[in-house]
């Protein structure tokens, strides 16, 4: 990393252009014990855009995503080298507080994982622990706002106290998204959010992603080429722990530079 590059970064950060780089990784490598899972990954993630990560199973997409909010800290024997910057700050510095980081970089998991609590408590959990609201009214309002934003409010407003696990799969996943955005994050990471859902629920989530794009920076892992094409602005193709190709989604899908990318998108392996 040269000094010049750093200067560019900071200047980029200051003028609030829509195409700000929100997060970037430089030479990011991840090791599980002795096994290397990621090799020198460099990727920029743009503000208020959807970035899709695609690639065959076990290629390191999830590992990469978990580096972005340091969830890898909870994996035993995981070691990370290189840099991950959020708004120009390296989040792997010692003085970074993972609690605040995760409040700003939310995450939605592959399988819906609502807590065994009421729908209201599920969404209110984050704001409560972070004390984002000062009164009960404010909290209720925030919960309502979050549920409205994921389009769940009309479906559950009359049964906020029933358990979150009583919802259907698609509703559960939207509940989890509502839970993630209730902490007022700036970046939302989604690890195959639709893999456990039926096509209708999937379509609903995709719509939701398009809406959320206005306010959040979104990174999404998907196994579905069509989905990546539909929802994302940028796409990065991972293979065996390396980024083979990244760039505009339309470019990657219509005119990939790399043969492997072409094969994968064309369905030759995966």
């Amino acid at each position: 990393m040269s000094a010049k590059q750093t200067a560019i970064e900071s200047s980029n950060m200051e003028n609030n252009q829509p195409l700000d780089i929100r997060m970037k990784t430089r030479d990011l490598s991840v090791f599980y014990d002795d096994k290397q899972a990621l090799f020198d990954v460099n990727l920029d993630i743009y503000k208020n855009r959807v970035t899709a990560l695609i690639g065959p199973s076990g290629c390191g997409k999830s590992t990469f995503m978990r580096c972005l909010n340091r969830m890898n800290d909870y994996v035993d024997g995981c070691r990370i080298t290189g840099k991950v910057r959020l708004d120009g700050f390296n989040i792997y510095k010692d003085n970074v507080d993972t609690i605040l980081l995760r409040q700003k970089v939310g995450m939605v998991f592959q399988k819906p994982n609502p807590f065994p609590k009421s729908i209201f408590e599920n969404v209110a959990y984050g704001p409560k622990i972070h004390k984002l609201t000062s009164s009960k009214d404010e909290l209720e309002e925030l919960v309502m706002k979050s549920l409205k934003r994921v389009g769940l409010w009309d479906e559950v407003s009359d049964r906020l106290s029933s358990p979150g696990t009583s919802l259907s799969g698609g509703q559960q996943q939207r509940l989890c998204i509502a839970r993630a955005i209730a902490t007022e994050p700036e970046v939302v990471l989604m690890d195959e959010p639709c893999s456990a859902l039926d096509p209708i629920a999937t379509a609903r989530i995709e719509e939701l992603i398009a809406e959320l794009e206005q306010q959040y920076t979104i990174v999404i892992i998907t196994h579905s080429m069509q989905q990546a094409e539909r929802v994302s602005d940028y796409t990065a193709f991972f293979h065996l722990g390396k980024i083979i190709e990244s760039g505009d989604t339309s470019k990657i899908f219509n005119d990939p530079e790399h043969q492997k990318t072409k094969d994968y998108i064309g369905g030759k392996f995966g």
């Binding site: 959020l86 708004d87 700050f89 989040i91 510095k93 003085n95 970074v96 507080d97 609690i99 605040l100 980081l101 409040q103 700003k104 970089v105 622990i129 004390k131 404010e138 309002e141 925030l142 309502m144 706002k145 007022e184 700036e186």
Partner: protein, 438 residues
């Protein structure tokens, strides 16, 4: 409502603009939120420390238990002996007055002792068992009669403890020994007439009223007899029951009641089994009281559910596909079980049996109830002889107020724990060495 909602959004936007690096802890110090975060962090630390401290307390207890037992028990593995110039006067030997011979030897050494009281305390330095040792020596070598030789004889328990502690620490408490005796022992030590020797009696004697003669052989043999009976009954019965329940029993309410029955038996307090032993074995069948036979039968009931449950788990972990494969080759159901399922499950079965034995080995209460609490000086010869077991020996000695028995108790516990560790290592070995991973 809608209005409030809009205000809220605006605030959010402002906040994002204001904070450049909201996730960095240090840059946050002037915000009011900081105190809340600090509180959360403190709560996190407190919680984590509470967990760590709990574990440390448990460790501490384990360490103090072990240290305590070892520090007060290791000295029992050595016994003190005193060298006395013994004269086998012919007339005394013929009268069988070996006690007198020992006393004369002591008076020989300390010729200034005159009063009755002083003499009595002098004679108490030597074990009351010493005359019997002389007797058996004369029996072996009759030609010693009329000669004078130096012999090592066991010291009394109080003497022994005083001597050992003096070796460790000059100024430590004297115990149950009076000033004169302390002086004499010191004199004996200075004239090289004392020594510490491996305490053989502890391993080859039964219980005794004299602490220096008390040993664990009888109770250890009692333990082995009891375990033998217990395993001979519980192992076949338990394994057969488990096989039937797991492989053959029809799935209906009778079976499920049997299952619940056996599972609950595992949690019944052991003392209840003692009650059963008392009322059925002793009262109804009239079996010999205090015998290892009854003890073994009672313990068999105790470990039966342990064996049944672990055997069933082991059988259950053999995949169905193995059974199907054997059956597809034309094996009958029993052949499937005895040629395949049981064989593959054997390591798990054995581990369960060994752990059951460990439990039976340490069990005390039900055996006390059927009268295995007797004073047993001689090792039992058959399983119907009155016997006692190692844990009960520990119990009996703990209740004995005499100082010499404290170190014996701790030493017996060391032996008991040694056996326990050995049994558990066996279980670990069997599991590690033979277990099949599916």
């Amino acid at each position: 409502m809608i209005k409030l909602f809009e205000r809220r959004t605006r605030i959010t936007v402002q906040r994002i603009k204001k904070k450049k690096s909201p996730f960095i802890y240090k840059s946050y110090s002037k915000k009011p939120k900081h105190t809340w975060l600090k509180k959360r962090k403190a709560a996190e630390r407190r919680f984590r420390n509470a967990g760590l401290i709990s574990i440390l307390i448990a460790f501490l207890f384990l360490v103090s238990l072990v240290c305590n037992i070892v520090s007060s028990g290791y000295s029992a593995f050595t016994g003190t002996q005193i060298k006395l110039p013994i004269t086998f006067q012919t007339e005394l030997v013929e009268k069988g007055a070996y006690r007198k011979i020992v006393q004369n030897a002591l008076l020989d050494l300390f010729q200034d002792v005159e009063t009755r009281k002083e003499k009595r305390s002098l004679f108490m330095l030597i074990s009351r068992n010493a005359p019997y040792e002389l007797k058996s020596l004369i029996k072996q070598k009759p030609d010693l009669i009329g000669t004078k030789i130096d012999l090592w004889l066991p010291a009394a328990s109080a003497t022994s403890i005083f001597y050992k502690q003096r070796l460790l620490e000059e100024s430590k408490r004297i115990g149950k020994i009076n000033g004169d005796q302390a002086k004499w022992v010191t004199t004996l030590a200075q004239s090289q007439r004392t020594r510490l020797k491996f305490n053989m009696p502890f391993f080859k004697n039964g219980d005794s009223r004299e602490a220096e003669q008390a040993g664990i052989l009888a109770s250890t043999i009692g333990s082995f007899f009891t375990i033998l009976v217990c395993v001979l009954l519980a192992f076949p019965l338990g394994v057969a029951t488990a096989i039937y329940l797991e492989e053959f029993a029809p799935r209906n309410w009778v079976t499920s009641i049997i299952e619940i029955n056996i599972n609950n038996l595992a949690a019944v307090p052991s003392i209840i089994f003692g009650l059963l032993g008392l009322s059925i074995y002793l009262n109804f069948f009239g079996m010999p009281r205090s015998s290892s036979l009854v003890g073994g039968l009672v313990l068999a009931l105790l470990i039966l559910p342990v064996i049944v449950i672990s055997t069933r788990n082991a059988l259950h972990s053999v995949p169905q596909s193995i059974r199907d494969a054997a059956a597809a080759l034309g094996a009958t159901p029993t052949q499937v079980v005895f040629h395949h399922t049981l064989i593959y499950a054997l390591p798990g079965v054995m581990t369960g049996v060994i752990l059951g034995i460990a439990r039976a080995f340490g069990e005390t209460a039900p055996l006390l109830m059927i009268g295995m609490v007797a004073f047993i000086a001689d090792a039992p010869q058959t399983i119907t002889d009155p016997a006692t077991t190692l844990p009960i020996q520990v119990f009996l000695w703990t209740n004995n107020p005499e100082l010499g028995f404290v170190e014996k108790t701790a030493a017996a516990i060391m032996v008991l724990l040694g056996f326990m560790i050995l049994i558990n290592l066996c279980a670990v070995y069997v599991r590690k060495r033979f277990e099949i991973k599916w």
